[in-house]
């Protein structure tokens, strides 16, 4: 993000992760977690240079249609089928400061709830004009925006009749490897959010609500697309000002 800001890079260690915000590893309601959840205590480590640094992705990696899922896989002159929406918001850290230069990658099912993936077996139809992936990089204010179709809900093998609420997967790079995060965005007003075993892995109701994007009427484009606003919060980091750090860290 050096091309976005004259500010000195921050080198403080990240705040300890508040794990009460996150799902625990073992969540038997989500069956796949049972054999994939570490059972021993984690080794706590205040960040060293290995954790506080991270890769940077320049805007030069981005193609013109990377943040337009309606068109980035579509044949020329065609577009994906579904409810046209805009998703936008900011990436902030726990200190409420914007995170500029953050790479955000997103993926989702099509409007019928079908993913374009060889392991996918849902009988809903593929849309020949919808790939389901996109990416962008936040600007100097931490702001991002992309266009897509609203994904459909879909059934999945867990309980006999479990369905995922409509959602978009987000992967976010902040400035340090310890900020790495994958999460999912849900849609305001969807009653299925509260029935989902994957949502329910999060123990804190407010933490779930933080993943529900609000219908943003002001940002809606008349006769074109409705907008949803989704802010993402990454871990904050300490100031190094008063820390007695040895040279080199």
């Amino acid at each position: 993000m050096s091309d976005l800001s004259n500010k000195k890079p921050e080198t403080g260690a990240f705040f300890g992760r508040d794990r009460s915000q996150h799902p625990p590893a073992y969540t038997p309601g989500y069956k796949t977690s049972v054999l994939r959840s570490p059972q021993k205590a984690l080794l706590s480590l205040d960040g060293t240079v290995s954790e506080i640094t991270g890769p940077v992705f320049g805007h030069s990696i981005l193609g013109e249609l990377d943040n337009d899922l309606i068109h980035n896989f579509a044949k020329s002159g065609e577009s994906a089928i579904g409810e046209r929406i805009i998703v936008h918001g900011r990436v902030l850290d726990e200190r409420a400061r914007p995170v500029p230069g953050a790479l955000i990658e997103f993926w989702q099912a099509n409007a019928g709830g079908r993913y374009r993936h060889k392991k996918e077996s849902y009988l809903a139809a593929l849309d020949p004009n919808f790939g389901g992936c996109g990416r962008t990089i936040t600007d100097e204010n931490g702001y991002y925006i992309f266009r897509t179709v609203k994904p459909g809900a879909y059934p999945w093998p867990n309980g006999v009749n479990d369905w995922r609420p409509a959602h978009i997967h987000f992967s976010i790079f902040g400035h340090g490897f310890a900020q790495r995060l994958i999460t999912q965005m849900y849609f305001e007003g969807d009653p299925m959010i509260w029935k989902c075993p994957i949502v329910q892995t999060i123990p804190d109701r407010a933490a779930i609500e933080q993943l529900v994007a609000a219908l943003d009427w002001s940002a809606t484009i008349p006769m074109d697309a409705r907008a949803y606003k989704f802010d993402i919060v990454l871990r904050g980091r300490r100031s190094t000002l008063f820390e007695n750090r040895l040279e080199g860290n």
Binding site: L35, K40, I52, E120, G131
Partner: protein, 204 residues
Amino acid sequence: MVQPLGYLKESASQTAGPYVHIGLTPNFAEITGVYPVDLGTAMVNDRTQGERITVTGQVIDGSGTPLRDALIEIWQADAAGLYNSPSEMRGSADPNFTGWGRCPCDLATGEYRFETIKPGRVPFKDGRLMAPHISFWIVARGINLGLNTRMYFSDEAAANAEDPVLARVEHRVRVPTLIAIRDGSTYRFDIHLQGDRETVFFDI
């Protein structure tokens, strides 16, 4: 009453799910024509300094079965021990080495593979040198929050013995779970999610 501190809460993690490849490695998922290449595929080029190595292994669940839908990212210093990052204040890293790699596990075998270089040593917070290591981040269906660990090198016994992070592993019998075994130029690093050989995972 006191003044509010005004901190926000980190967004909760949710599993990467079974279709993580669509978003992070679409070409691998046969969604072609959107991005020219999948990010993190090439860490080195012809001019990268340092000893070329291959890092490979599997992520293994509590039944002993390799995960075939996991995705791994790694982050490491260059051969001189510098990170290719704006937050690296000690000098400029090798511009021909990204330090970051991303690899989906093979859909049939579960094997991951990185072509990289052996990293140099970087300092711990108190200035002591840590042993050469590579940071790992593992996500998959059924993993609710990405798992962090480190890989150390079996041919660095002296450095490993004085590494301040390895020294903090209370149960010494678990230290070998963090050490990749060298065979030629290849290091094998299997990650066990559960069981007697459960890898030491970090809260970083």
